[in-house]
């Protein structure tokens, strides 16, 4: 019985390791929800013979995994935290790869009237003025940090009954917003890919402050000797290559382009 179990387990373990090399990368939920990974990973495997195992977590946890050396690289979108990560020596540098954007989602009827706001800050001010229900990620993720900075430029983070911090990932927060009929800040990809939209719709987008820069950080082998520095360097070059750029720029979801490639290529 026990032997058989171990054999089965062996198969399961073996089936996960088809490529010659494998490395672990922590990515944010919003990146994974975009579906871009499903396009890029097979190409990476084909070009580099490298299997990239994705750990889909919040930005905070991704940075934490990188600091502990439990992943070889991270792909996140929270500039201040990334710079701290580099400053603390856990990565030698951060490499900007691409950006997408955040959008304001709300009930189609738009009781707060954010659709014709002139800026993201004004959109939030109107929600506050109308005291319309708002769902905040509240999980210290990149999206949450962006939302907090927007509220600060709109006159401070609310502390009222209509402001709901759910402390959950993007999908769970969107589910909550649908249930409450509230407003929420989401990345465009998560929203387009979200399967339970209810009567919510995309109300506001386009302010440059809503741009969401993704950066790649390879964990510094001088801090964590066991990380696969060679592989993560190879992956970095691939992600910043023109070939990756074409794939990223041409990726569409529901007929919309999601990402803009902006890495500085060395080729």
């Amino acid at each position: 019985m026990m032997m058989r179990l171990l054999v089965v387990l062996g198969f399961v373990l073996a089936s996960g390791a088809q490529a010659a090399d494998s490395m672990r990368m922590a990515v944010t939920t919003s990146f994974h929800n975009s579906g871009l990974a499903d396009v890029l990973l097979p190409e990476i495997e084909a070009d580099l013979d490298l299997e990239v195992q994705l750990l889909v977590v919040g930005t905070g946890q991704a940075l934490r995994l990188g600091r502990a050396g439990d992943v070889d690289a991270i792909l996140v979108h929270s500039r201040a935290a990334e710079e701290a990560f580099v400053a603390d020596g856990f990565a030698t540098h951060r490499r900007e790869i691409m950006y997408n954007d955040f959008v304001v989602i709300g009930p189609a009827a738009d009781p707060a009237g954010v659709a014709d706001a002139s800026s993201a800050a004004e959109a939030l001010s109107r929600i506050a003025a109308a005291e319309a229900r708002f769902v905040s990620r509240g999980d210290d993720s990149g999206t949450h940090k962006k939302e907090v900075s927007l509220w600060e430029s709109a006159g401070g983070v609310p502390a009222a009954g209509w402001y709901n911090e759910v402390g959950a990932g993007m999908g769970a927060a969107l589910n909550t917003a649908v249930g409450l009929g509230g407003y929420i800040l989401s990345d465009r990809a998560s929203w387009l890919n979200f399967g339970n939209k209810g009567d919510l719709s995309l109300l506001y987008a386009g302010d440059p402050v809503l741009f969401n820069q993704y950066a790649y950080l390879a964990v510094n082998p001088e801090v964590h000797g066991h990380v696969k520095a060679e592989l993560s360097a190879k992956l970095e070059e691939w992600l910043a290559s023109t070939r990756a750029g074409e794939l990223i720029d041409s990726y569409q979801l529901a007929g919309e382009t999601l990402f803009v490639f902006n890495a500085v290529t060395k080729e």
């Binding site: 399961v12 890919n193 066991h226």
Partner: protein, 234 residues
């Protein structure tokens, strides 16, 4: 309600068409939990028997702690195992984090107290019944333990099934230590959490129904095996 029906029909089609990805995830769920169960039984059952037959100073405290640990929150187990197995942790050198092995360890920690507690309840009753006879026969400690484990095997099966149920349905711990990596550590429960997060309720429900069906199937199978073995006996 619409989601529920969609989920049911989707589950049906996933199973009928033998969806490769589903099969892989379900098989991994089974192998992780069954391995954790097998190893967990090896620890929990003799421990329960020893607690029943041995008198030592901290026995009552150990039993009380064990009973309390039955309700151990898996998320906490996950965090502790994560910290232990992390590259920065004491067992980091083994590189076990985000592997099925890490998931097995976490699940064992979750189910061992549960199984040991349930097993101990029935072994204690059996020991009260057997005590005088076995003492009179001058049995050794290990003969005592073996006799109790063998004669209480039906009750121990119940304990093991409880452990299986808790293990296969557990998500908090294995999400943290396994990482839900596609094709490596994704199992039914973490896939359900993922699909729920994507708002794909129908698919999440479909996976949930598959999980429930799998649990029932394993229970029936084990009961049936136990039945044939004991046909017309105890």
């Amino acid at each position: 309600m619409v989601d529920l029906w969609q989920g049911l029909s989707q589950a049906f089609w996933l199973v009928v068409t033998l969806d490769a990805e589903l099969a892989e995830i379900a098989l991994r769920s089974l192998s992780v939990t069954l391995t954790a169960l097998a190893l967990g039984c090896v620890i929990a059952m003799p421990l329960a028997a020893l607690l029943a037959v041995r008198r030592f100073r901290w026995r009552r405290s150990v039993i009380a702690v064990l009973n309390a640990l039955m309700g151990l929150p898996p998320v906490v187990v996950g965090l502790v195992v994560y910290v232990m197995l992390s590259r920065s942790g004491p067992f980091g050198v083994f590189g076990l984090l985000f592997t099925p092995t890490a998931m097995i360890i976490a699940q064992m920690i979750v189910i061992v107290p549960l199984m040991a507690s349930i097993a101990h309840q029935s072994l204690r009753e059996l020991w009260a019944e057997y005590h005088d006879l076995l003492i009179s026969m001058n049995v050794t400690q290990s003969q005592k333990v073996r006799t109790l484990l063998w004669d209480a095997r039906r009750a121990l099966l119940t304990a093991a099934l409880a452990g299986f149920g808790r293990g296969i349905g557990e998500v908090g711990a294995i999400m943290i230590v396994g990482g839900n990596i596609d094709h490596v550590t994704r199992v039914l429960t973490t896939a359900i959490a993922l699909e729920t997060g994507k708002g794909e309720f129908a698919l999440a429900l479909a996976l949930g129904f598959v999980l429930i069906a799998l649990t029932i199937l394993v229970n029936l199978l084990i009961h049936w095996l136990g039945q044939t073995e004991r046909e017309g006996r105890w």
